[in-house]
Amino acid sequence: MNSGPKSQLPIYAAVLFCLALCPMPAEAHLTSTGMGPIYDGLVHFLMSPEDFVPVLALALLAGLRGAAYGRRALFTLPGAWLLGGFVGMSGAATNGNAIIAAVWFLLLGGLLAADMNLSLRLVTGLAVLLGLYNGYLNGTGMGGFGAASVALLGLVFAVFVLVAFATAFVVRLRAQWARVSVRVAGSWIFASGLLMLGWATRRH
């Protein structure tokens, strides 16, 4: 008889399965999560594809280029985002321009799809620009919010975590098909940007 230690996996699987059977109503992208401003900011970022997707694209691009690029993006992007957010809080509330949002998709998606051999300085510049621009827009939107600074910190934390996970995931990829898959994701982002551009011009 096998007297070795039994795997706990079936128990965990059973518990998770039971939890999955009792879904609670998902309250996506609400103004308040009810869990405090940190989570409000964090959830806002995760539920805003116009913020989330360019950050993901930049992180994947930095990851494809190597660990040094990933480390640089990991600190410059959230830093610039935080700075832009604080500057934006003192500015008048403004909505993002749909064409500029589309341009970010096109630029970062295109660079990722082409696996462009960019210099570290250029990737850093892109991270700073993206962080300042999107951070500023977020900041202006949070201006009237009581705990805006704390929400901004939550948002920047989400940016940091996403960049950390995405770059770390891509840096370790060695198989050609896996790296090609990342580039395919870039082509999808680029294609989404083209359609967004069409939507933006259609409105005008």
Partner: protein, 201 residues
């Protein structure tokens, strides 16, 4: 053995009542955005003519092997999105329905006969038809949706259709698989003839 069977029965006895008591998930109370993504995701897979052509691109890429296996599915969504952008902007493109039917015929024939042109020619052929597919989608887009989420759903669905084609195309490594792919190519081409006939009837 009996102990295991008893344990399994106990688990089933617990899990089945829980399944019966599953609550309704009320996800995405913010109206518009989720609808935009889902509508965008459904759009490419709602028309069989589009589905046939996109799966055929994946099949053909799998037959041609590397680098076409990833270059064609990368080229198609990008150029298709360009066509979609033209459609959204209101730029007219004549003969869209005929070109979409012709794309199924030619791409199906390429799979059927295992046509192996130079890579630029294959990419050019796929890109040419992609513009018409994208334009048709662009002009059909519903108003009042979230453009960003719609676009993402649209592109992801297109990519998934190519992935289905590539996944089926993996069978090309076996002799029976090669025959099966050629048979599938014939099916796509016949579908194209049917859609061409519908255009003129």
């Amino acid at each position: 053995m009996k102990t295991r069977q008893h344990a399994a029965v106990r688990w089933i006895a617990v899990l089945v009542p829980m399944l019966l008591c599953a609550r309704v998930a009320l996800a995405h109370p913010q109206a518009g955005e989720a609808k935009g993504f889902l509508t965008g995701f459904r759009h490419p897979i709602s028309g069989l003519d589009h589905v046939l052509a996109m799966v055929a691109v994946g099949l053909w890429g799998a037959q041609l092997g590397s680098p076409a296996i990833w270059l064609l599915p990368v080229a198609f969504p990008m150029v298709m999105a360009f066509g979609g952008m033209l459609g959204l902007m209101g730029v007219p493109l004549p003969g869209t329905e005929v070109a979409i039917a012709a794309s199924a015929i030619l791409l199906g024939a390429a799979v059927l006969f295992e046509f192996r042109p130079a890579l630029p020619l294959a990419a050019l052929l796929v890109a040419f038809f992609a513009i018409f597919h994208g334009h048709a989608h662009g002009t059909e887009l519903p108003p009042g949706q979230s453009g960003l989420l719609y676009s993402m759903g649209f592109v992801i669905a297109t990519g998934c259709l190519h992935a289905v084609g590539i996944g089926i195309g993996v069978a090309h490594r076996w002799v029976w698989g090669q025959r099966f792919l050629r048979f599938a190519g014939a099916g796509v081409a016949m579908g194209g003839f049917f859609f061409l006939w519908k255009v003129f009837v």
